[in-house]
C-alpha cells in the first residue's frame, strides 16, 4: 500500500523522469475551442530553467518507477534497490491542471516504468490523457511515451489524445541494446514507431479532406538515444538519426549523454562525468542537418568516425573544405552563406534580404550579428581582403580555437532558441 505523501512520490518520480531529455512543447497549435483550459503555441514555451540550464516546459513525470525490466543503463531497473512510487491517474491529472492554471507549465510529458505488462502500463497512461482531454477540458500540450510492446489499439488511442508521441530507441545499435537490455529488441521499438509514423501521415491526409477529422499526434514524433554507454561512433549515430528523420519522419532525435547511474554494472563504461561536449557536438550536427542543409555524409566523412571535440562541426567542415572559401557575401547563394562559420540562420536570411538594397561591408556584417572574429577567414565582402589563402587548416584551427577561449564564450547549450519567430498579437489600436 502507498503510504508516501503526494509530495514524496512526486519527488521520487520526477527524480526518475529527469533523464528524459525532451521537454519541448513545440509544434502544436491546438486551440482552446471548448473554452476550457489551455492551448498550444507552435513555437513552444519554456517556463523555467533548472540549475543544469535545461528548459522546463512540460510537467515531466513517470507514472511509476516500478519496472519489470532490468535495463543496465537505467536507474529504475528492477534489480536496483531504490525508493519506488506510483501516482494514480487522478493525481497526475490534478497536478497537471494545478500547475497549468498557475502558468508553471505548457502541459504534461508522461512516461513510465513497466508494471505488470506493457499493455497494463500503456492503458493507464492513455487514461490520464483521455481524462485530461475529456473530463478536464484540457487543451494544453500532452506528450505520451509509447511503451514498446503495447498493443496497436492503445498506441492508436494515445495518439488521438496526445500532441506528441515518442518511443525511445535508447541504444544506437541493436546488438548493444540486447547486451544492455536483454528483454528489449528493435522490432518492439520500431513497430510502434512505424505505426505512429503511418497514423500521423494518414491523419494529415484526412485533415486535408475533412477539416474536422481527428488529428493524430499533430506535433509529431520524437525519439531519444543514450550516447556514450556503448561504443558506437559519432558517424554511426549521425547516419542513424538522419535515417530516422527520413524514414520515420521524426520531428526530433534527442541525445542523452550517459550518466553513470549503475556503476556497479561491468557492461557499462566507467565514466566520471557525462560526455557533455560530445553530446553538444552531436546536437550541433543535428542542427546542421535540420536547419543548415547539410547532409550527414558531409558532417563526417568515411575516414572520420568521431566529431572533433575542439571545434564545432560546421567549422570542422569549413576547415576540411577550405577550397570552397572565401564566400562572397554579396553574391553567393543562401546555401553557401549558411556554411560560413560564424553566420547563423537568421543572419544568413538577413544578408540575403539586405544585400538587395546595397552592397554589404564588414561593418554591416558585424551589426547584423555575424561573429566576424570567426567569419572573416571565410568570407569576402565589399572591402574585406581575402585572408584565407595563406592559411593551412591546422594553423587556422589553432588560431580560431585559441581565440575562442574568451570571457564571453557562451555556455554549452543544447537547446535551440525557440522564440525567434514568435509574434504576439497586436491589440486593437485605441
Amino acid at each position: 500500500m502507498e503510504t508516501k505523501t503526494v509530495q514524496q512520490r512526486l519527488e521520487i518520480l520526477s527524480d526518475a523522469a529527469k533523464y528524459d531529455v525532451s521537454c519541448a512543447s513545440s509544434g502544436s497549435n491546438r486551440k482552446n475551442a471548448t473554452k476550457g483550459i489551455g492551448n498550444g503555441v507552435a513555437c513552444g514555451i519554456c517556463h523555467s530553467f533548472t540549475e543544469d540550464g535545461r528548459c522546463v516546459s512540460l510537467f515531466k513525470i513517470l507514472m511509476t518507477n516500478h519496472c519489470i525490466y532490468d535495463c543496465a543503463y537505467c536507474a529504475n531497473r528492477r534489480s536496483n534497490d531504490r525508493q519506488r512510487a506510483t501516482l494514480t491517474v487522478e493525481e497526475i491529472v490534478d497536478l497537471t491542471i494545478g500547475f497549468y492554471r498557475s502558468n508553471y507549465i505548457e502541459g504534461l510529458f508522461l512516461s513510465s516504468g513497466v508494471i505488470k505488462s506493457p499493455d497494463y502500463t500503456m492503458e493507464r497512461m492513455v487514461q490520464v490523457a483521455r481524462k485530461l482531454r475529456m473530463e478536464e477540458n484540457f487543451n494544453g500540450y500532452i506528450h505520451l511515451k509509447a511503451i514498446p510492446g503495447a498493443s496497436p489499439e492503445l498506441v492508436h488511442e494515445g495518439g488521438l489524445w496526445a500532441d506528441r508521441m515518442s518511443v525511445n530507441l535508447e541504444i544506437p545499435t541493436e546488438p548493444n541494446l540486447k547486451l544492455l537490455a536483454p528483454e528489449k529488441n528493435y522490432p518492439a521499438i520500431f513497430s510502434p514507431m512505424t505505426q505512429i509514423r503511418n497514423e500521423i501521415l494518414a491523419s494529415k491526409e484526412e485533415v486535408k479532406i475533412f477539416r474536422n477529422a481527428r488529428r493524430f499526434a499533430p506535433a509529431g514524433q520524437s525519439t531519444q538515444m543514450i550516447i556514450g554507454a556503448t561504443p558506437e561512433t559519432d558517424r554511426q549515430i549521425i547516419l542513424l538519426s538522419s535515417g530516422l528523420y527520413k524514414t520515420q519522419n521524426l520531428k526530433r532525435v534527442y541525445f542523452s549523454g550517459y550518466l553513470p547511474v549503475n556503476d556497479y554494472d561491468k557492461r557499462l563504461p566507467a565514466l566520471t562525468r557525462p560526455p557533455l561536449v560530445r553530446e553538444n557536438r552531436l546536437y550541433q550536427s543535428d542542427w546542421l542537418m535540420r536547419f543548415y542543409r547539410f547532409k550527414a555524409e558531409e558532417i563526417l566523412t568515411d575516414d572520420q568516425p568521431f566529431l572533433d571535440l575542439d571545434v564545432d562541426p560546421k567549422l570542422g567542415y569549413a576547415l576540411r573544405n577550405l577550397h570552397l572559401f572565401p564566400v562572397d557575401i554579396n553574391r553567393a547563394d543562401y546555401e553557401m552563406i549558411l556554411r560560413i562559420p560564424g553566420v547563423g540562420v537568421q543572419s544568413a536570411q538577413r544578408i540575403i534580404l539586405a544585400r538587395r538594397h546595397r552592397k554589404l561591408n564588414s561593418e554591416h556584417l558585424s551589426k547584423l550579428g555575424i561573429v566576424m572574429k570567426r567569419a572573416k577567414y571565410f568570407l569576402t565582402c565589399n572591402e574585406l581582403p581575402v585572408s584565407t589563402t595563406d592559411w593551412t587548416p591546422e594553423k587556422l584551427k589553432h588560431k580560431l580555437v585559441a581565440g575562442a577561449v574568451s570571457k564571453n564564450k557562451k555556455s554549452l547549450d543544447t537547446q535551440l532558441s525557440l522564440f525567434g519567430n514568435y509574434q504576439p498579437v497586436l491589440p486593437p489600436l485605441h
Binding site: 512526486l10 476550457g36 489551455g38 498557475s102 555556455s411 522564440f419 498579437v425
Partner: protein, 257 residues
Amino acid sequence: MTIITYDGTFGGFLTAVFESYNRKIFPVDICSRMGEQKHLFAQKTDIQTDEAKAERVWRGIQQKMTEKNKQFVFYAFLSEEQGIEMKIYRFLRRLFSGNLDIETDFGDPDVLYLTQTSRKVKQEAMRMLQFVRFQHTKDGLYFCGIEPRYDVIPLVVSQFQKRFADQRWLLYDLKRNYGMLYDKNKPQEVVISNKEFSSITGQVNDNVLQEGEEFYQKLWKSYFTHINIQERKNLKLQRQHLPRRFWKFLPEMMILN
C-alpha cells in the same frame, strides 16, 4: 528648427506624423511633452492626439509593410527608448516616399535599429508568457504581479485569454501600476489602489491566498528541485535563459523552506 511634442501615446505619435505631412513640417525631433526639456531654444509645435488621423497613418503603414512586419513600428515604439520617435519617423518618411520593401534594408542604421528594438520588445512579451506565475486567491482570482521592462502586458492579453478562458485572472504591471483583468468574458484595464500584494515581488498577502495554493507551490518547488540533473549543473546557462530580474516573481527561485 521645429520640435514636435505629443502626449507620449502611440496614437499621439502617429498624429504627429500625420501633421508633419499636413503642415509640411520637417521636425528635428519628436518627443513626449511629458519628457524632459532637451531643446530650450527650438520652436515647439504641440500636437493633439486625433484618433482618425492616427488611424489613417496606421493604415498607410499596414499597406506598405509585409505581413510579417505589420506590427514592427508599434513594437519598436513600445520600447520607450530615447529618440525612438525620430528613428521611426525617418523610417516612415522613406516608407511613404515609395521605397519598396525598405524593412529589409538592414544596411541602413535606422532599419537595423528598429528591427533589433522591436525584437527586444517581442522577446519581453514572450517572457510574460514564460514567467507569469498566477497565485490563486480566496475569491477565486488568479493574480500575477510582474515588472516587464517594456509596456507589453497589452500585447499578451489575448494569448492569456485564449489559454485561461475558464478562470478569472489579473495580470498586474507593478512598475506602471495598472493591470488587465479578465472575468471570463473580456479583459479590461484596471488600477488597484488598495493593494493586498507586495508591489515589489507581486506576492499576495498570505491571508488572501486560496487554500491549496501553498500546497501547489510547494509541490512545484519540489518538482523543480528534483527534475534537475546535479551532474550537469550549469548555473551560467540557467542565468542566460532565466534573467535575474524575474527571480523574485518565481516561486521555484525563492528559497526553499
